[in-house]
């Protein structure tokens, strides 16, 4: 791998080596993720997948290293990490229109709504939200709301993108379409991206590679085919089958 980015000699991409304290058990994980790759973090419910994401985003405390292109993020507060998150229940701002939700990241950066709204237009167009821009989140379908959450995260121009169970809030009938759409946007993103899921279809369509977390520990890493060929646990065997 060639050195690039901020720190000389450091591999480009995301480097994570953390322990996230939780009530039942700490979540311990270490991995590297080059730019342009999508890592699927999979595992049973309660395994610590979401805790791991929250730690990378800086939303919960964690010990260890979180570095991007050799630059340490662990010491930075969430708002200065440049880590975009699409939350499981999206957490759109209910008091803001779709346009202002997507403009929000530039609103806090630029200090005014007018310029922020202008900056949001391309993202609204790219995620096919222009016609919905004046609606409020309460008036959106699940798929529409999910596109708003993605547009909002991308409009912050994050260096890293994290998605927590992106299909969980959606009706089953529309999941395949939304998933294919999401896969397209993830390819276009360009930075390291992580998708948490416990759904095999997400792993297959969205992720280049999978990291299996069970009981707070990484039990296996590999492509879906590699997991299926040599499962490291009964859960992996059932998941990858």
């Amino acid at each position: 791998m060639t050195a690039s980015g901020a720190a000389p000699g450091a591999a480009p991409g995301l480097r994570v080596d953390v322990a996230v304290p939780r009530e039942a058990f700490d979540v311990v994980a270490a991995f590297d993720l080059p730019p342009g790759r999508v890592l699927g973090v999979v595992g049973p419910n309660g395994a610590g997948k979401s805790s791991l994401l929250a730690a990378i985003a800086g939303l919960v405390d964690a010990r260890g290293t979180i570095a991007l292109d050799g630059r340490d993020l662990a010491a930075l507060p969430a708002e200065r990490r440049g880590v975009g998150v699409v939350f499981q229940d999206l957490l759109l701002f209910p008091h803001l229109s779709v346009r202002d939700n997507v403009a929000f990241p530039q609103r806090v950066r630029l200090g005014g709504w007018r310029a922020a709204r202008a900056a949001a237009e391309p993202w609204l167009a790219r995620l096919d939200l222009t016609a919905l821009a004046d609606r409020h989140p309460g008036a959106l379908s699940g798929g529409q709301a999910q596109r708003v959450a993605l547009a909002r995260a991308l409009a912050a121009e994050p260096a890293v993108l994290l998605l927590d169970e992106p299909m969980a809030a959606l009706d089953v009938e529309i999941r395949d379409d939304v998933r294919a759409d999401l896969a397209r946007h993830l390819r276009a993103f360009g930075g390291p991206a992580i998708v948490v899921s416990h759904d095999r279809a997400d792993a297959e369509v969205l992720a280049d590679e999978l990291l299996v977390v069970e009981g707070g520990r990484v039990v296996q890493r590999g492509t879906l085919a590699e997991l299926a060929a040599a499962p490291a646990s009964p859960w992996v065997a059932r998941f990858a089958r």
């Binding site: 985003a57 800086g58 939303l59 507060p77 969430a78 708002e79 200065r80 990490r81 440049g82 880590v83 975009g84 998150v85 939350f87 957490l91 701002f93 209910p94 008091h95 929000f104 990241p105 609103r107 806090v108 950066r109 909002r152 995260a153 912050a156």
Partner: protein, 269 residues
């Protein structure tokens, strides 16, 4: 398909009981309006006693509402925050805030006297530095604040809780500073709750009687608020009492109607 709740009509028993319930709530007010001495109303309302009581009531209720906002919002934040803490302090805190709502106001007035009266727990110290609170206008404000604050605390706490703290986490991850999160996310989400709480607080303070007459007495122009004036007039001058009652009713209605539906408790946004 989800079953539609509106399809199933309430049964006859529900309708009858609900009708009686509604009548119990509304008919006394109808009687008040019907029996009001409409012809003499302008003269009655222009009397100095009525204007004095009205001005005192509006003034003290407004000050009490401000006091409730200043003290109650932090209390609501503390209460919402305690949800994540140990159960015992949380329940004690909630109970302490609830007490004025379930306590007969007269008892509240007696308790205030025992705390702030001349020989009260704190009152004796205040007396030494020359401060006597009972039977003054500030005592009216204290009594109103005592009974009204829980309404504000619970309205704001409810708003804080439904305004999912994780919206703030989402704002963090989008680059917002702490001040920006508060101004652009927390405050707008909580504002309807604060407004609803303030209105409930104001109407409760306006109607305060028991704690006020016990702790502050009934001195014209000083502590004789509208409800007290109305009660006293009932013996000697029923027409004035009814006129005063109408004023109270009108003020309460105006305040409630001035609110949009979504700011009223129990209405989903």
């Amino acid at each position: 398909m989800r079953a539609s709740a509106s399809r199933r009509r309430p049964g006859a028993a529900v309708l009858v009981l609900a009708g009686v319930g509604l009548a119990l709530l509304v008919l006394p007010l109808v009687a008040l309006v019907v029996r009001a001495p409409w012809g003499e109303l302008p003269a009655l309302l222009a009397s100095e006693a009525v204007l004095q009581a009205l001005a005192l009531s509006l003034g003290t209720a407004a000050v009490s509402t401000v006091a409730c906002l200043v003290l109650g919002i932090p209390l609501a934040v503390l209460l919402a925050h305690a949800e994540h803490g140990a159960a015992v302090p949380r329940r004690l805190l909630r109970a302490a805030i609830t007490i004025p709502m379930v306590l007969p106001p007269v008892i509240g007035g007696i308790a205030l006297l025992l705390l702030l009266g001349r020989r009260g727990l704190l009152g004796q110290w205040l007396a030494e530095v020359g401060i006597a609170l009972p039977f003054t206008t500030p005592a009216v404000v204290i009594a109103q604040t005592f009974v009204a604050m829980p309404f504000l605390v619970f309205a704001v706490e409810g708003a804080l809780r439904s305004a999912d703290r994780r919206s703030e986490a989402a704002a963090d991850s989008l680059g917002a500073s702490r001040a920006q999160v508060f101004r652009l996310v927390t405050l707008p989400l909580v504002a309807p709750g604060v407004a609803a709480g303030a209105v409930l607080c104001f109407t409760r303070a306006l109607g305060e009687f028991g704690a006020t007459i016990t702790f502050a007495g009934s001195f014209p122009g000083v502590t004789r608020t509208l409800p007290i004036a109305s009660y006293l007039a009932m013996n000697s001058d029923p027409d004035t009492a009814i006129a005063l009652a109408l004023v109270l009713l009108a003020v309460s209605l105006v305040v409630l109607l001035a609110l949009r539906d979504r700011w009223l408790p129990g209405v989903a946004r």
